[in-house]
Symmetry: C2
Subunit: 161 residues, 2 copies
């Protein structure tokens, strides 16, 4: 079972791919999709959309997960983030992959065991849990953490079947 | 010059198409794209995206305009609206059509001559200006008003060239 985690952002979108077998997870890949600040917003949305399509095409995940955002600073940043999130969700849907949503708190609890963990703690936990030789960037680490949160939920639901 | 106006919404997206020649405008079509409330949000985004692609395919506009939203009730509704807006902007960009953005105030001023006009006044103004035999729905009328606002700006910029 291959899981794609997505940490949406209008400037930087993180992605992380893991392979899950029961409670065992293995790292596959991670990275970021950056949009060009000088571009118009429609052009930037196309960069984000094309970027995630390439990731979906390359890694062919069976399932995807995205962070559920409730805490935007203001309606204007929520709108921008929503626009990026919209094209990411559309791409996942077009590839006919199930998309789960998890709160930031659930993601932090899944990897650090503590819902208020900071970005650095997430990076270190992801590195340790996936036995990585180097620390992924914050956005890529967040995306891997989202994938791992999804993996935990799938593993638990498989056991309870 | 054919102009498509878009009034974005996660439940109902209005669209309106007009033909512009200088300061003269003519009605072509209008309608709404509805997303199914029972569907998952990715499915609803796909409905909105597929709907606007069909409109773009059918009417082949030369230019498009969308309302610039600054006044969402709260970050959560801004996020939902942003997601719908994102897939609409992506579709327009994929068809390589220029997209302009206008504030609600500018749109109201363009058709009613008054930035605080209500929905009913917009419906009546659009009906009168485009010589329609019936009153379009609120969302379709808003979309036509956005297209007319864009048309005004294009006409003025053509004159000043």
């Amino acid at each position: 079972m291959r899981i794609l985690g997505i940490d949406p952002g209008s400037r930087i979108t993180g992605f992380g791919v893991i392979e899950q077998a029961g409670f065992h997870v293995e790292y596959v890949s991670c990275g970021v999709i950056k949009s060009t600040p000088d571009f118009t917003f429609p052009d930037r949305l196309k960069e984000i959309y094309d970027g995630i399509c390439e990731v979906l095409e390359t890694y062919q995940p069976d399932s995807a997960a995205i962070e559920n955002v409730f805490v935007a600073k203001n309606p204007n940043s929520a709108l921008k983030l929503g626009q990026a999130r919209g094209v990411l969700m559309l791409a996942v849907r077009q590839y006919q992959i199930d998309l789960s949503e998890y709160s930031a708190k659930a993601v932090k609890q899944a990897v650090v065991g503590y819902g208020q963990a900071d970005k650095y703690q997430i990076q270190q936990a992801v590195r340790a849990l996936l036995k990585l030789s180097s620390t992924p960037s914050q956005d890529a680490a967040d995306a891997l953490a989202i994938a791992m949160c999804c993996s935990n939920h799938l593993a638990v639901s498989q056991v309870s079947l």
